[in-house]
């Protein structure tokens, strides 16, 4: 009974559209715009810092843990999906609620976008825990400089067709200005974002 009802709503909506839609309008070919900034890394860092993120740089991934330690000396529960960080908790439980109470989560971004500081990350890099970058108190994202692109056009071109169940661009710590337009860093998601750039 419900199925039939849904079919007729669908049919009714589609037939109304067919009757009312305008004449065909061509779909434009959008060029892959590139950034006019000469130094992508510089722009990426500038935009991230402007948006309230902190940026660190290591010349080798083994130094990542040192940078994290220096930014979060008092951290308690530290989780990581990075295989080369041995001293951290790993993803074993698949129930998302289990990760409430995570102090610091260290994950690896797929690519970074210079024009807006956004970093693309998917379920794969999150160990299957979609809520991880939101539920943690502090987020650390490791991104390689090589992966940096200039614009969102280049980012989507690089990402290509979706082959993951969930993906997100993260461009800073969670924030809100809903109270008299005063910016507050740390709303419902992570209170801070530390981006560590690797070569």
């Amino acid at each position: 009974m419900q199925n039939k009802q849904r079919m007729s709503s669908k049919a009714s909506i589609l037939s109304k559209i067919k009757a009312n839609k305008p004449n065909p309008w061509p779909l434009p070919d959008v060029p892959v715009f590139q950034t006019s900034a000469p130094d992508k890394k510089k722009l990426f860092i500038q935009i991230l810092e402007r948006g309230g993120s902190k940026v660190g740089y290591v010349d080798h991934i083994t130094k990542v843990v040192d940078v994290v330690a220096s930014f979060f000396p008092d951290r308690l529960r530290t989780l990581s999906t990075l295989p080369y960080l041995e001293d951290t908790e790993k993803i074993t439980i698949l129930e998302p609620e289990f990760y409430e109470g995570t102090d610091v989560a260290i994950v690896e971004g797929v690519l970074g976008v210079a024009e807006n500081g956004a970093i693309w990350i998917t379920e794969k890099e999150l160990g299957g825990i979609r809520v991880l970058p939101f539920i943690t108190q502090h987020l650390v994202m490791v991104v390689s400089e090589k992966s940096l692109v200039g614009t969102m056009h280049e980012a989507y071109k690089s990402i290509g067709s979706p082959n993951t169940d969930f993906g997100v661009f993260i461009a800073g710590p969670s924030k809100t200005a809903d109270i008299e337009q005063s910016l507050v860093i740390g709303a419902q998601g992570a209170r801070s974002l530390l981006v560590i750039l690797t070569p």
């Binding site: 969930f166 997100v168 461009a171 809903d178």
Partner: protein
Amino acid sequence: MSHAKKAAIFNKDEARTDWHDASLWMVRKKRDFAVTEIPEWEFLREFASDIKSHTLSKLDEYLESFEKAATQNGAIVHWATDAKEHNDIVLSILNKHHAKKMVKSKSMLTEECHLNDFLDAHKIEVIDSDLGERIIQLLDEPPSHIVLPAIHLKKEEIGELFHKELHTEKGATDPQYLTEAARHHLREKFHTAQVALTGVNFGIAETGEVVVCTNEGNADMGVHLTPVQIHSMGIEKLIPRRSDLAVFTRLLARSATGQPITVFTSHHRKPKNGGEMHIILVDNGRTTQLGKPDFRNSLKCIRCGACMNTCPIYRRSGGHSYESTIPGPIGSILTPGIDLKKYGNLPFASTLCGSCTDVCPVKIDIHDQLYKWRQIVSDAGLPEGGNKTLMGMLGSGLAAPRFFHRLGNLGRKILRLFPGNEKFLSFTIWTRERNLPKAPVESFRDWYAKQAKNE
């Protein structure tokens, strides 16, 4: 109450009007700065407009592609012809899972459908998880802006509310402190809710994904912690290809708040392991608007709110004075199509300055549509359109030289009889706060005639 009456009340507190105006002008200025960072901005607007126009011209095909892809991904797609059907579908999903508690992230569509009230009546607890939305939910008020729902409230008022509802300290107004309190309050809700619902910024026809943009991370906190997630989407939110998101993600946040991108741009494609993902495609008058050649462009809207931030009338009257779910310039061209009698006064709440059209990231011809709605309102004989007979007479008078000149001369001569014309006629609407123009001895016509004589 008409917009004019509500705006009059709003303007009684001039200091507050100035504050509201300045707050929103600030957002407009941030937008202006953000725009300078993209040299190809005007090209992007054109592309965005064309992508949306194309999509609307093939909306049926794209909706079917979207449904096919989403279903293949494991999502369950529903179709709702109107608000009632949408609400019924949400309730049926909740009932199926015996859910009594739902968290909801920002969705103007669900505001339009009055979902909260409906679920309330069915004893479902709905928690709006966006901070601004939560504030107005606790105040039992509608949002006054589609992006900044609580822009009309001062921090003292929010502090008082939180003291009452969240037990924060009395008199506390620090936004950091208040946001922290809300964070703890909402965290508990995210963990105890059984279903999460979000709006949809963009639906991708090619991949069946829904894209949700937030700054707070509340939409994600909601959907990733509950086994059942629902995404309510207006059918006009579809775009053809994933790559088209590049255009829209570069335009949306810059237009809305001046940020280069929202903090989170989530792409939901498949349900989580062991979870359910529902997408509700909603019509609720959109297909009717699609059939109106003069007004269908309003369906390109990506709900950025830039038109509200730039509108000098919106800034000085506030969203509530429109009494429509979507206020401001875009609201004034969307709502008369829904209820001409109720919203017919809104197209007149404008000077047709055109600023809205210039900031719209998808190039909706807002001020042209306002002008066109005015013609329809007056053709329908509604009061805002003026008395048709009188207008007809005026029209003929304006075309008749002798009548026109005699009327003008008479007006000028009458005014000349009252030298200090400040208080004279102060009972008319114009002269309540303005003087009438000074009446010169000679009209241009008189002067010109004299010139001709002298030659």
